[in-house]
Protein backbone atom coordinates (compact mmCIF):
# COMPACT_ATOMS: atom_id res chain seq x y z
CA UNK A 1 0.00 0.00 0.00
CA UNK A 2 2.73 2.42 1.01
CA UNK A 3 4.55 1.47 -2.16
CA UNK A 4 1.54 2.30 -4.25
CA UNK A 5 1.14 5.62 -2.53
CA UNK A 6 4.74 6.58 -3.18
CA UNK A 7 4.46 5.49 -6.76
CA UNK A 8 1.40 7.65 -7.21
CA UNK A 9 3.11 10.63 -5.61
CA UNK A 10 6.15 10.08 -7.83
CA UNK A 11 4.03 9.87 -10.96
CA UNK A 12 2.09 12.96 -9.90
CA UNK A 13 5.30 14.90 -9.38
CA UNK A 14 6.58 13.80 -12.77
CA UNK A 15 3.29 14.66 -14.45
CA UNK A 16 3.46 18.13 -12.94
CA UNK A 17 7.01 18.56 -14.18
CA UNK A 18 6.16 17.31 -17.65
CA UNK A 19 3.03 19.39 -18.08
CA UNK A 20 4.13 22.61 -16.47
CA UNK A 21 7.23 23.94 -18.20
CA UNK A 22 6.63 27.29 -16.50
CA UNK A 23 7.42 25.62 -13.17
CA UNK A 24 10.33 23.68 -14.59
CA UNK A 25 11.92 26.96 -15.65
CA UNK A 26 12.19 28.03 -12.06
CA UNK A 27 15.93 27.58 -11.65
CA UNK A 28 17.09 24.33 -10.12
CA UNK A 29 20.18 24.69 -7.99
CA UNK A 30 23.41 23.95 -9.84
CA UNK A 31 25.62 23.26 -6.85
CA UNK A 32 26.92 24.54 -3.59
CA UNK A 33 29.81 26.63 -2.30
CA UNK A 34 31.95 24.30 -0.20
CA UNK A 35 34.94 26.38 0.83
CA UNK A 36 35.72 30.07 0.97
CA UNK A 37 38.68 32.09 2.13
CA UNK A 38 39.16 35.87 2.16
CA UNK A 39 36.88 38.16 0.18
CA UNK A 40 34.54 36.32 -2.18
CA UNK A 41 31.39 37.47 -3.91
CA UNK A 42 28.40 35.90 -5.54
CA UNK A 43 26.79 38.01 -8.25
CA UNK A 44 23.18 37.09 -9.03
CA UNK A 45 21.04 39.10 -11.43
CA UNK A 46 23.52 41.96 -11.18
CA UNK A 47 23.50 42.12 -7.37
CA UNK A 48 26.79 41.35 -5.64
CA UNK A 49 26.73 39.79 -2.17
CA UNK A 50 29.41 38.24 0.01
CA UNK A 51 29.60 34.53 -0.70
CA UNK A 52 29.53 32.00 2.12
CA UNK A 53 30.29 28.31 2.42
CA UNK A 54 27.05 26.32 2.18
CA UNK A 55 25.36 28.74 -0.18
CA UNK A 56 23.57 27.33 -3.21
CA UNK A 57 24.65 28.45 -6.68
CA UNK A 58 22.42 28.62 -9.74
CA UNK A 59 22.86 28.78 -13.45
CA UNK A 60 23.80 32.37 -14.46
CA UNK A 61 25.53 33.10 -11.15
CA UNK A 62 28.94 34.77 -11.17
CA UNK A 63 31.72 33.92 -8.70
CA UNK A 64 34.18 36.73 -8.03
CA UNK A 65 37.15 36.83 -5.67
CA UNK A 66 38.99 39.79 -4.21
CA UNK A 67 42.78 40.08 -4.15
CA UNK A 68 42.84 37.86 -1.03
CA UNK A 69 39.86 35.69 -1.92
CA UNK A 70 39.54 32.04 -2.93
CA UNK A 71 36.50 29.82 -3.35
CA UNK A 72 35.63 26.19 -4.14
CA UNK A 73 32.29 24.95 -5.51
CA UNK A 74 30.92 21.46 -6.15
CA UNK A 75 28.20 21.20 -8.79
CA UNK A 76 25.42 18.61 -8.74
CA UNK A 77 27.08 16.39 -11.33
CA UNK A 78 30.27 16.26 -9.19
CA UNK A 79 32.07 18.90 -11.26
CA UNK A 80 34.41 20.86 -9.02
CA UNK A 81 35.54 24.40 -9.72
CA UNK A 82 37.82 26.56 -7.64
CA UNK A 83 39.05 30.11 -8.04
CA UNK A 84 42.20 31.76 -6.79
CA UNK A 85 42.49 35.49 -5.96
CA UNK A 86 41.31 38.27 -8.30
CA UNK A 87 39.31 35.82 -10.38
CA UNK A 88 35.89 35.75 -11.99
CA UNK A 89 33.93 32.82 -13.37
CA UNK A 90 30.43 32.87 -14.89
CA UNK A 91 28.30 29.75 -14.56
CA UNK A 92 26.53 30.47 -17.83
CA UNK A 93 24.69 27.16 -18.14
CA UNK A 94 24.10 24.17 -15.93
CA UNK A 95 21.63 21.43 -16.60
CA UNK A 96 21.90 17.93 -15.19
CA UNK A 97 18.81 15.82 -15.93
CA UNK A 98 19.98 12.66 -17.67
CA UNK A 99 16.46 11.20 -17.59
CA UNK A 100 15.25 14.11 -19.72
CA UNK A 101 18.41 14.10 -21.82
CA UNK A 102 19.34 17.56 -20.57
CA UNK A 103 23.05 17.84 -19.93
CA UNK A 104 24.89 21.12 -20.22
CA UNK A 105 27.72 22.92 -18.52
CA UNK A 106 29.09 26.24 -19.72
CA UNK A 107 31.68 28.15 -17.73
CA UNK A 108 33.27 31.43 -18.68
CA UNK A 109 36.59 32.25 -17.07
CA UNK A 110 36.73 36.03 -17.29
CA UNK A 111 39.95 36.52 -15.35
CA UNK A 112 42.23 34.99 -12.78
CA UNK A 113 43.20 31.43 -11.99
CA UNK A 114 40.75 28.54 -12.01
CA UNK A 115 40.92 24.78 -11.44
CA UNK A 116 38.28 22.48 -12.95
CA UNK A 117 37.68 18.79 -12.27
CA UNK A 118 35.08 17.32 -14.58
CA UNK A 119 31.98 15.52 -13.35
CA UNK A 120 29.23 13.30 -14.72
CA UNK A 121 28.16 15.66 -17.51
CA UNK A 122 31.60 15.40 -19.10
CA UNK A 123 31.40 11.62 -18.76
CA UNK A 124 27.88 11.21 -20.16
CA UNK A 125 28.07 13.88 -22.87
CA UNK A 126 31.57 15.38 -23.33
CA UNK A 127 30.35 17.67 -26.10
CA UNK A 128 27.95 19.30 -23.65
CA UNK A 129 30.78 20.87 -21.65
CA UNK A 130 31.98 24.30 -22.77
CA UNK A 131 34.60 26.34 -21.03
CA UNK A 132 35.59 29.63 -22.53
CA UNK A 133 38.05 32.39 -21.80
CA UNK A 134 38.14 35.82 -23.47
CA UNK A 135 40.35 34.40 -26.23
CA UNK A 136 39.82 30.62 -26.35
CA UNK A 137 37.25 27.84 -26.21
CA UNK A 138 38.09 24.63 -24.38
CA UNK A 139 36.62 21.23 -25.11
CA UNK A 140 36.92 18.79 -22.22
CA UNK A 141 37.29 15.02 -22.46
CA UNK A 142 37.35 14.40 -18.75
CA UNK A 143 39.40 14.99 -15.65
CA UNK A 144 41.30 18.05 -14.70
CA UNK A 145 42.24 21.40 -16.17
CA UNK A 146 43.77 24.58 -14.90
CA UNK A 147 43.12 27.89 -16.61
CA UNK A 148 44.73 31.24 -16.09
CA UNK A 149 43.55 34.45 -17.68
CA UNK A 150 45.70 37.54 -17.18
CA UNK A 151 45.70 41.07 -18.41
CA UNK A 152 42.03 41.51 -19.16
Amino acid sequence: MAHHLRLIIGVLALTLLATAPAFAQQPASAGRIKVVSGTVYLVRAGAQTTAQAGQVVYQADVLRTGSDGRIGVTLKDDTRVSLGPASEVHLDRFSYSPAEGQLALALKVVRGVVAYVSGRIAKLAPDSVHIETPTAILGVRGTTLAVRVDGV
Partner: protein, 201 residues
Protein backbone atom coordinates in the same frame (compact mmCIF):
# COMPACT_ATOMS: atom_id res chain seq x y z
CA UNK B 1 59.43 25.58 -23.37
CA UNK B 2 60.49 27.51 -20.32
CA UNK B 3 59.95 30.82 -22.07
CA UNK B 4 56.22 30.28 -22.17
CA UNK B 5 55.93 29.36 -18.52
CA UNK B 6 58.17 32.25 -17.55
CA UNK B 7 56.14 34.67 -19.64
CA UNK B 8 52.95 33.42 -18.05
CA UNK B 9 54.42 33.73 -14.56
CA UNK B 10 55.75 37.22 -14.99
CA UNK B 11 52.65 38.41 -16.72
CA UNK B 12 50.57 38.93 -13.60
CA UNK B 13 53.17 41.41 -12.39
CA UNK B 14 53.60 43.31 -15.64
CA UNK B 15 49.87 43.46 -16.29
CA UNK B 16 49.31 45.88 -13.44
CA UNK B 17 51.51 48.54 -14.97
CA UNK B 18 50.86 47.84 -18.64
CA UNK B 19 47.51 46.12 -19.11
CA UNK B 20 47.34 43.93 -22.16
CA UNK B 21 44.02 44.72 -23.77
CA UNK B 22 43.79 41.39 -25.46
CA UNK B 23 44.67 39.33 -22.42
CA UNK B 24 46.46 36.06 -22.17
CA UNK B 25 45.09 32.62 -21.46
CA UNK B 26 47.16 29.68 -20.23
CA UNK B 27 45.48 26.26 -20.22
CA UNK B 28 47.14 23.22 -18.66
CA UNK B 29 45.88 19.64 -18.48
CA UNK B 30 46.48 18.08 -15.09
CA UNK B 31 46.25 14.59 -13.60
CA UNK B 32 43.06 13.99 -11.64
CA UNK B 33 43.82 15.05 -8.04
CA UNK B 34 42.40 11.78 -6.68
CA UNK B 35 42.88 9.03 -9.27
CA UNK B 36 45.87 10.49 -11.10
CA UNK B 37 44.10 9.80 -14.42
CA UNK B 38 44.88 12.18 -17.27
CA UNK B 39 42.06 13.08 -19.65
CA UNK B 40 42.25 15.29 -22.70
CA UNK B 41 41.16 18.74 -23.74
CA UNK B 42 41.09 20.83 -26.87
CA UNK B 43 41.92 24.54 -26.86
CA UNK B 44 40.84 26.55 -29.86
CA UNK B 45 39.99 29.95 -31.22
CA UNK B 46 39.46 31.46 -34.67
CA UNK B 47 43.21 31.29 -35.36
CA UNK B 48 43.89 27.67 -34.49
CA UNK B 49 43.48 24.67 -32.22
CA UNK B 50 45.62 22.33 -30.13
CA UNK B 51 44.96 19.13 -28.18
CA UNK B 52 46.23 18.59 -24.65
CA UNK B 53 46.69 14.88 -23.96
CA UNK B 54 49.55 14.52 -21.46
CA UNK B 55 49.93 15.45 -17.82
CA UNK B 56 50.86 19.16 -17.51
CA UNK B 57 50.54 19.69 -21.26
CA UNK B 58 50.05 23.43 -21.64
CA UNK B 59 49.25 26.03 -24.25
CA UNK B 60 49.14 29.82 -24.17
CA UNK B 61 46.92 32.16 -26.16
CA UNK B 62 48.27 35.68 -26.51
CA UNK B 63 45.61 38.11 -27.62
CA UNK B 64 43.83 36.70 -30.62
CA UNK B 65 46.77 34.61 -31.80
CA UNK B 66 46.47 30.87 -32.24
CA UNK B 67 47.19 28.66 -29.21
CA UNK B 68 50.96 28.08 -28.97
CA UNK B 69 52.30 24.59 -29.66
CA UNK B 70 51.82 22.29 -26.66
CA UNK B 71 54.59 22.33 -24.02
CA UNK B 72 54.86 20.23 -20.91
CA UNK B 73 55.23 22.31 -17.76
CA UNK B 74 57.32 21.12 -14.82
CA UNK B 75 55.56 20.35 -11.57
CA UNK B 76 56.93 23.49 -9.96
CA UNK B 77 55.83 25.69 -12.88
CA UNK B 78 52.37 24.15 -12.63
CA UNK B 79 52.22 24.79 -8.91
CA UNK B 80 53.39 28.38 -9.30
CA UNK B 81 50.77 29.12 -11.95
CA UNK B 82 47.76 27.33 -10.54
CA UNK B 83 48.15 26.38 -6.90
CA UNK B 84 46.16 29.41 -5.70
CA UNK B 85 43.08 27.86 -7.29
CA UNK B 86 44.00 24.20 -6.98
CA UNK B 87 44.42 24.34 -3.24
CA UNK B 88 40.75 25.36 -2.92
CA UNK B 89 39.21 22.41 -4.74
CA UNK B 90 36.47 20.91 -2.56
CA UNK B 91 36.84 17.30 -1.38
CA UNK B 92 36.15 14.74 -4.08
CA UNK B 93 32.58 13.43 -3.95
CA UNK B 94 32.20 9.87 -2.65
CA UNK B 95 30.04 7.32 -4.44
CA UNK B 96 28.13 4.30 -3.21
CA UNK B 97 26.16 1.90 -5.40
CA UNK B 98 23.43 -0.19 -3.81
CA UNK B 99 21.93 -3.28 -5.44
CA UNK B 100 18.69 -5.09 -4.77
CA UNK B 101 17.99 -8.75 -4.26
CA UNK B 102 16.59 -10.51 -7.31
CA UNK B 103 13.13 -9.16 -8.21
CA UNK B 104 12.86 -7.45 -4.86
CA UNK B 105 12.87 -4.07 -3.14
CA UNK B 106 15.21 -5.49 -0.48
CA UNK B 107 18.85 -4.43 -0.64
CA UNK B 108 21.47 -7.17 -0.84
CA UNK B 109 23.23 -7.64 2.49
CA UNK B 110 26.45 -6.18 1.04
CA UNK B 111 24.56 -3.06 -0.01
CA UNK B 112 22.75 -2.74 3.32
CA UNK B 113 26.13 -2.76 5.03
CA UNK B 114 27.10 0.36 3.05
CA UNK B 115 24.41 2.54 4.60
CA UNK B 116 26.37 3.35 7.80
CA UNK B 117 29.36 4.25 5.58
CA UNK B 118 27.20 6.77 3.75
CA UNK B 119 26.29 8.30 7.10
CA UNK B 120 29.95 8.53 8.13
CA UNK B 121 30.98 10.03 4.79
CA UNK B 122 28.40 12.78 5.24
CA UNK B 123 29.54 13.45 8.82
CA UNK B 124 33.14 13.86 7.67
CA UNK B 125 32.41 16.85 5.44
CA UNK B 126 32.18 20.57 6.15
CA UNK B 127 29.09 21.21 3.96
CA UNK B 128 27.61 17.75 3.44
CA UNK B 129 25.05 16.89 0.80
CA UNK B 130 23.65 13.46 -0.02
CA UNK B 131 22.19 12.83 -3.46
CA UNK B 132 20.24 9.59 -3.91
CA UNK B 133 19.69 8.56 -7.52
CA UNK B 134 17.35 5.72 -8.49
CA UNK B 135 18.17 3.74 -11.64
CA UNK B 136 16.29 0.98 -13.43
CA UNK B 137 16.90 -1.47 -16.26
CA UNK B 138 15.11 -1.04 -19.59
CA UNK B 139 12.11 -3.26 -18.87
CA UNK B 140 9.02 -1.05 -19.08
CA UNK B 141 8.60 2.41 -20.54
CA UNK B 142 11.04 5.26 -19.89
CA UNK B 143 8.29 7.11 -18.01
CA UNK B 144 7.34 4.29 -15.66
CA UNK B 145 11.03 3.66 -15.04
CA UNK B 146 11.52 7.24 -13.88
CA UNK B 147 8.75 6.67 -11.33
CA UNK B 148 10.22 3.31 -10.33
CA UNK B 149 13.69 4.81 -9.84
CA UNK B 150 12.21 7.56 -7.72
CA UNK B 151 10.42 5.03 -5.53
CA UNK B 152 13.59 2.99 -4.98
CA UNK B 153 15.59 6.11 -4.16
CA UNK B 154 12.88 7.21 -1.73
CA UNK B 155 13.09 3.87 0.10
CA UNK B 156 16.83 4.29 0.57
CA UNK B 157 16.33 7.85 1.77
CA UNK B 158 14.01 6.56 4.49
CA UNK B 159 16.50 3.88 5.55
CA UNK B 160 19.30 6.45 5.82
CA UNK B 161 17.17 8.82 7.86
CA UNK B 162 16.17 5.89 10.10
CA UNK B 163 19.83 5.34 10.98
CA UNK B 164 20.42 9.01 11.71
CA UNK B 165 21.03 10.99 8.53
CA UNK B 166 19.76 14.58 8.70
CA UNK B 167 16.87 14.67 6.21
CA UNK B 168 17.64 18.26 5.23
CA UNK B 169 20.88 17.10 3.58
CA UNK B 170 19.17 14.62 1.29
CA UNK B 171 17.95 15.04 -2.24
CA UNK B 172 16.22 12.24 -4.15
CA UNK B 173 16.08 11.98 -7.94
CA UNK B 174 15.52 9.33 -10.59
CA UNK B 175 17.44 8.81 -13.78
CA UNK B 176 15.11 6.00 -14.79
CA UNK B 177 16.66 3.93 -17.56
CA UNK B 178 18.74 6.84 -18.93
CA UNK B 179 22.01 6.07 -17.13
CA UNK B 180 22.67 2.34 -17.43
CA UNK B 181 25.56 0.63 -15.68
CA UNK B 182 25.41 -2.15 -18.29
CA UNK B 183 24.31 -1.01 -21.75
CA UNK B 184 21.45 -3.15 -23.07
CA UNK B 185 18.78 -3.07 -25.75
CA UNK B 186 15.31 -1.94 -24.71
CA UNK B 187 13.21 -4.34 -22.58
CA UNK B 188 16.26 -6.38 -21.48
CA UNK B 189 16.17 -7.27 -17.77
CA UNK B 190 19.55 -6.52 -16.19
CA UNK B 191 19.89 -6.83 -12.40
CA UNK B 192 23.03 -4.64 -12.36
CA UNK B 193 21.07 -1.73 -13.82
CA UNK B 194 18.47 -1.90 -11.00
CA UNK B 195 20.38 0.11 -8.49
CA UNK B 196 20.52 3.18 -6.32
CA UNK B 197 23.55 5.43 -6.48
CA UNK B 198 24.44 7.67 -3.61
CA UNK B 199 26.76 10.62 -3.95
CA UNK B 200 28.08 12.29 -0.83
CA UNK B 201 29.44 15.72 -1.66
Amino acid sequence: MLAIAAAACSHSHSSRTAPDRNGRTVVTLLPDPDSGAVGAASVSNAAGSVELTRARASTTINGNAAPTPVKTLSESETRQLFNAAFSMLPMAPQHFTLHFQFNSDELTSESRALLPQVLNAAKGRPIPEVLIIGHTDRVGSATTNIALGLRRAGMIRKQLIDIGLDSSLVEVVSHGEADLLVKTADEVPEPLNRRVEITVR
